[in-house]
Amino acid sequence: MPLVVALPLAGGFLAPALGRVTGSGRWAAALPLAVAAAVLVLVLAMQGRGDEAAVLWMGGWKFPVGISLYADGLTRLVLLVIAVIGLLALVFSMDYMRQYTSPSLYYGLFLLMLAGMNGVVISGDLFNIFVFVEIAGLASYALVAFGTEADELEASLKYLALGAVASTFILVGIAIVYNVTGQLNWAKIAQAVQGAGGPSLPLAVALAFFLMGFGLKAAMVPFHAWLPDAHPAAPAPISAMLSGVLIKACGVYAVARIVFSVFGATETFGWVLAVMGVASMALGSLLMLVQADFKRLLAYSSIGQMGYVVLALGAAAVMQARGVSEAVVALAVFGGLFHLVNHAIFKSLLFLCSGSVEYATGTRQLKELGGLGARMPVTGACLRVAALSISGVPPLNGFWSKLVIILALVLGGFYTLAAIAAAVSVVTLVSFARVQRYVLGGAATAAAERAREVPAGMGLATVALATLCVASSLVMLPSVRGVLVDPAVRVVQAGLGRRAPQAAPVADVARPACPAVSGAGAPEPRLDKPAVPHPVPPAE
């Protein structure tokens, strides 16, 4: 299990060193590819364990001293998504990155980002999640600036400033949680929160900080400002990784873990998430309609599509609190997670296609493109599959997950939200119909005249993702769903199941939490803690 993080981390430092020794030839990609493939194999070997949650204490140190890695159904699902998309993005990079200088540095940063994301997903304690978010974040800031032109540098600066603010919020949240519970291991925090009968006021403040921090990382409205700059500026495979995976691993996964598994979702948090989801859906999709830049359009659609995921998870929490039947709640969670997987697949495919188009024509302005359907048949076909999939056309995967989400919303009694979700889907369809018309249809423009089909590596990656777009519809089959997604659904639902009573008075918050070597987990009172409530931060 630690190899999932250790391999890319080691590779991240070896790749640039190797590149310096051997020169930056085509072989620069060999080591990263081997690492990504090995990670995929490891992750595949972890699948199919059902509800089993594996805990590993690093270095053999036990509970209070050691650091733990943790893998349950949700972890395995997200790891699988990261590994698959990461490998295909690397395959695409082999040919694509020949436009740039110093590819070995690029591969090193790519692997660091991979290590960071895997680490976020697999960490058993909050502070390690923070550290890995920062590793992935640092690598991605540098990758966004990789082109070192004015646009890229500015986008990276904006991304970095907001990302650093997000990290600060997360760390403040961690400090408050540690102050109240004396724990960093999130399973123990969950026990402490439960023991206290639900989140108290300081913990609610901490949760607000976590929501702001990870909401910024996930680019949820109103924290979305950096994404439309940062994602288009990066090289195409990195845009695919950022939009397809990073905002999920460092954003939505972390929010789901902290809101659901650690704090136990109450109706209020559910509503906060649902409102953020709806706002993201509406704003992302509407702004998508007016974009002239291909990749910027895709970036806005990422905001909108992640809105679906967050809406489904938030609505599930609200439904649970209102006593809607377990089956409907499970359906909403399943829809959210399924859409997360699907979005990773079709959005990375769309970004890779935009990369292919830019590679062939040298532009990504929609108005300057045209007639590429005939000149680039493979890329064109893949782009069509992805566009249909994201618009929710049956029988592609996007249709199924949106259907499940809307169905769950209707069954749960949220008719307005269901109507908004359906309307946003129509807007998406219109917007991607426009993309197809500009890029693929019509007469060839000046830029498209010289366009030729892209090299084999890039074609291979896009075709593989397009196949996955079709294949992941199979998740609707109960047998496939039972192996891949259902354990993750049950993890999230377990967090929902805790119907917490009203928050306890602040001074009574249990502090069972002295990490003591003696006594295996026996709570010992912490002597240095007077019952001083944590100050509430001033309004910002």
Partner: protein, 125 residues
């Protein structure tokens, strides 16, 4: 509102100051300074979490709970070491972020000859 809460409030005040600098300032260097202030604020908060004057007069280093009964001097003076370890890590991360952002600022200055973000914004949306 007791006097014991004052350091916490000051740490949060520092946080707000840093946030203001990052959000409202136009000069890249001032934004970087803001990020540094944010870093210090949260580090300060973490250190504060580790140490608080105790009315019972018996703070304790939690990791050593089992074996320090015969070390009254240590028990009386020790603070929770874990937040300090966190702060060390946080400082290292802060350093790398600062190094990266300063590098970006230098490259931006080479492109535009200015640190004013208003005059370099060619991406909006």
């Amino acid at each position: 509102m007791t006097l014991a809460m004052l350091p916490y409030l000051l740490a949060f005040l520092l946080l707000v100051v840093g946030l203001y600098a990052v959000v409202a300032k136009r000069n890249v260097i001032k934004i970087i300074v803001g990020l540094a202030i944010l870093d210090y604020a949260v580090n300060l908060l973490l250190v504060l979490v580790g140490y608080r004057p105790s009315p019972s007069g018996s703070p304790m280093a939690p990791i050593l709970t089992g074996g320090v009964a015969h070390e009254p001097a240590l028990v009386a003076g020790a603070v929770d070491p874990l937040p300090q370890a966190l702060v060390l890590t946080s400082i290292v991360i802060g350093l790398s972020v600062t190094a990266l952002v300063v590098g970006l600022a230098i490259r931006l200055y080479e492109k535009y000859g200015t640190f004013d973000t208003e005059r370099m914004r060619n991406l909006r949306g």
